[in-house]
């Protein structure tokens, strides 16, 4: 008896697809329901970010970074501002440092909420977990609006400080939010972590061994879920992260479920950092005195931070003029995305979107 002849089919998933987090195309080679190969195609959202950045002056680039990973604008600004400060050796005032930490950690919580919400969406949960998470994002956005005047594109960080001091109503509202957050994270865990279907769908799907993760250059929760305790806040403390007491959350298996658990754990750690920062927040100035024209000295600098999605680095070259000579971004989404074919091979179609969701990409950052 001869074997049945089978053929693989090629499916273009995207650029218009509900679960590819933007305009992102995957060329799937399928054997029935099983994925044989995946080829990600990026570039649909390319908008010359880095080249435009060379023509903006140094200060104009701060709001421009908001457009990279629009889920976590504060982190992008933080990385850029820290790089410029490192280049021109500016020390921001103490209070500004604390405010920055508060903003960035709030941002981390928002980002992880969105990831968990979208991951469940991709598991087929019809928006309910996402609506629950987005509700908390809105509360954080309210805080951003109060401090910076804008919700998604805050432009709050300045070179040498922050744009304005916190308004009087900010701290009580922020403390209330931080006090309420652990309760919501518990609720989220109660609803999702033990769910039979979530466990069935997530466990042993898209396993990324630590050596492969390192070889692909993965960072952030994706790498930590594989069992590598690498967090730049700990490995190379920047700003004032060495003052805070927090744990690095590490997974054991490296599958989608671990990535989910790591993000939940990181939200808890962020709450811890926030509590400490809110307690220690000193009084004083929030920015160094302004200069008429900001021109850093000649030279180049690379600075990286632990953004919610992974290592976000800015490589800046200055020729002493008022705009950067080179403005290069090491975007965590872009690097982490390279592991997608490895994660998807041999799994089912449904697992592809789950893997994308668990990697956590924002196309604004991937394509730049």
């Amino acid at each position: 008896m001869t074997e049945l002849k089978t053929e693989t089919i090629t499916v273009n998933m995207g650029p218009q697809h509900p679960s590819t987090h933007g305009v992102f195309r995957l060329i799937l080679t399928l054997d029935g329901e099983t994925v044989v190969d995946v080829e990600p195609v990026v570039g649909y959202l390319h908008r010359n970010h880095e080249k435009i950045g060379e023509y903006n002056n140094w200060i104009q680039n701060t709001p421009f970074t908001d457009r990279l990973d629009y889920i976590s604008p504060m982190s992008n600004e933080f990385a850029y501002v820290l790089a410029v400060e490192k280049l021109s050796e500016i020390e921001p005032p103490e209070r500004a440092e604390y405010i920055r930490i508060i903003m960035v950690e709030l941002n981390r919580i928002v980002n992880h909420m969105i990831v968990v919400g979208f991951l469940l969406n991709e598991l087929g949960c019809f928006f309910t977990p996402m609506m629950y998470c987005v509700r908390w994002r809105e509360l954080v956005m309210d805080l951003y609006e109060m401090a910076a005047g804008s919700r998604m594109m805050p432009n709050y960080f300045w070179i040498g400080g922050v744009a304005a001091d916190l308004p009087a109503a900010f701290l009580p509202q922020c403390k209330e939010l931080v006090a309420a957050l652990p309760g919501f994270i518990d609720e989220l865990e109660r609803l999702l972590t033990d769910s039979e279907i979530v466990q069935m769908r997530c466990k042993d799907v898209g396993v990324l061994p630590p050596d492969v993760a390192v070889a692909y250059g993965c960072t952030g929760p994706l790498l930590r879920a594989s069992g590598v305790p690498y967090d730049i806040r700990r490995a190379e403390p920047y700003s004032i992260y060495d003052r805070f007491d927090f744990d690095v959350v590490v997974g054991t298996v490296g599958d989608v479920y671990d990535r989910y658990l790591v993000r939940i754990g990181e939200m808890r750690q962020s709450v811890r950092i926030l509590e400490q920062a809110l307690k220690d927040l000193p009084e004083g100035e929030t920015a160094t005195p302004k200069k008429k024209k900001f021109m850093p000295p000649e030279g180049d600098v690379y600075h990286r931070i632990e953004a919610p999605k992974g290592e976000l680095g800015f490589y800046l070259v200055s020729d002493g003029s008022d705009h950067p000579y080179r403005y290069k971004i090491r975007a965590p989404s872009f690097v982490n995305l390279q592991s997608l074919p490895y994660l998807c091979r041999g799994h089912k179609i449904a697992d592809v979107v789950v893997n994308i969701g668990s990697i956590d990409i924002t196309m604004g950052e991937v394509d730049r």
């Binding site: 089919i9 499916v11 697809h17 509900p18 679960s19 399928l30 029935g32 329901e33 469940l120 969406n121 991709e122 598991l123 087929g124 949960c125 019809f126 928006f127 309910t128 609506m131 629950y132 509700r135 769910s195 279907i197 979530v198 069935m200 769908r201 466990k203 069992g227 305790p229 967090d231 700990r234 490995a235 007491d245 927090f246 744990d247 690095v248 959350v249 590490v250 997974g251 054991t252 298996v253 479920y257 671990d258 658990l261 790591v262 754990g265 089912k348 179609i349 449904a350 697992d351 592809v352 979107v353």
Partner: protein, 402 residues
């Protein structure tokens, strides 16, 4: 007291009396054969009209409830409390461009939009909506439902194949596999009920629940759960909505359809969901039986309560993967349904019919099966709980060597 009872009876029998009155009026000037024919025709029209009209409130009910589940209001713009949203949607769908892809199989593509809706209306014919309110009391009622219900699969497969789209093709294969797999536990779980009744007629099933003075959900709780689970899969509702799988294969079999053809699929889906709830009501919840309220009110109350469970599932549960779906059907539902059938056959022979003792024995055996399966197959306490490792500052500074 007697007056109240008469009012109750009047309200209870209002639709039946209406049809008697209409046929007697027609008999004045028409031969008997024509009256029968006209009355049958009118009944069919009423059922179809009911089916179509019920979409309006089922749709708004579902969207409002899901909205509440998700911490939002649901549609609230058009009409009082947004109740006319469905009308607006229908107008939108009717006025949309009707697209047929150039490479589609034109005839089958267009035909497929109509096919799935026919069996859904056919099922309504044998459902007893109230005391004496059944269009056709077939003595093979349940068999008819199973036979007709499985026709919908053909329509879906036609749609997916004729669309000439890869997502649709994947969805079509998923649909066929899923529907065939879940038909088996669905029928097997009901056989237990049929054993107790001794008839396939839907009317006698309701009558039998009157003789037992208990709805069959008490006698056959396991069968009810099995039936309802497979019925959810049968009508492609979450968590078994793989054929649609919006986050993976976008919309599945109706990806290429637009406008009114797309609406036809939606229509079929909603009526299907309604009819599986109605069948579950008839088989397990005592059909139209209930105190005080008129019989048809009880029927709809029970049916829509079950529909609420469907909505609840849709709003809360993630979707299964295709291999897990098959495993669930063949490794869990089918063995359980077989076990239930065997035990029911044995116990129903041993215990007295229509007695509380018999009902208690049946309930007890069901509970024993469930607990047995829970202990042997799914020991919850044995399942490992995965935790993340927390690396505090001191540990990582040693590892980093600084």
């Amino acid at each position: 007291m007697e007056f109240v009872q008469r009012i109750q009876q009047f309200v209870d029998q209002i639709f039946v009396n209406l049809s008697f009155w209409a046929s007697s009026q027609l008999a004045n000037f028409l031969p008997e054969g024509a009256v029968t024919f006209l009355m049958m025709f009118a009944t069919i029209l009423v059922l179809i009209f009911f089916g179509l009209a019920s979409i309006i409130w089922i749709n708004i009910f579902e969207r409002k409830i899901i909205g509440r589940f998700q911490d939002r209001y649901g549609p609230n713009r058009f009409g009082p409390w947004g109740l006319l949203q469905c009308v607006a949607d229908m107008i939108k769908l009717l006025t949309k461009e009707d697209i047929t892809p150039t490479k589609a199989d034109r005839l089958i593509y267009n035909l497929a939009a109509v096919v799935p809706i026919i069996p859904t209306f056919l099922i309504l014919a044998v459902l007893p909506f109230g005391r004496g309110m059944v269009a056709a009391d077939l003595n093979i009622g349940f068999l008819y439902i199973v036979a007709v219900g499985s026709l919908g699969t053909i329509g879906i497969f036609m749609a997916s194949w004729a669309s000439n789209n890869k997502y649709a093709a994947i969805s079509g294969l998923r649909t066929v596999a899923q529907m065939i797999s879940y038909e088996i536990p669905m029928v097997l779980s009901v056989v237990g009920v049929l054993l107790l009744v001794g008839s396939l007629s839907m009317v006698s099933i309701v009558d039998a629940q009157g003789q037992w003075r208990l709805p069959f959900i008490v006698l056959q709780p396991l069968a009810f759960v099995l039936y309802f689970t497979s019925a959810v899969a049968e009508v492609n509702r979450s968590p078994f909505d793989l054929p649609e799988g919006e986050s993976e294969i976008v919309a599945g079999y109706h990806i290429e359809y637009s406008g009114i053809k797309f609406a036809m699929f939606l229509l079929a889906e909603y009526i299907n969901a309604f009819s599986v709830c109605a069948i579950a009501t008839t088989l397990f919840l005592g059909g139209w039986r209930g105190p005080v309220l008129p019989s048809w009110a009880w029927f709809f109350l029970k049916t829509y309560s079950l529909y609420l469970v469907l909505i609840w599932l849709r709003a809360t549960l993630p979707r299964l993967r295709v291999d897990q779906l098959m495993n669930f059907a063949w490794k869990t539902l089918v063995p359980l349904a077989l076990a239930n059938l065997m035990v029911t056959a044995l116990v129903a022979k041993l215990v007295p019919q229509h007695s509380l003792v018999g009902a208690g024995a049946l309930l007890l055996t069901n509970v024993v099966i469930v607990i047995g399966i829970a202990v042997v197959k799914y020991p919850r306490w044995k399942r490992e709980k995965r935790e993340v490792v927390l690396v505090p500052r001191s540990a990582s500074s040693q590892a980093g060597g600084s």
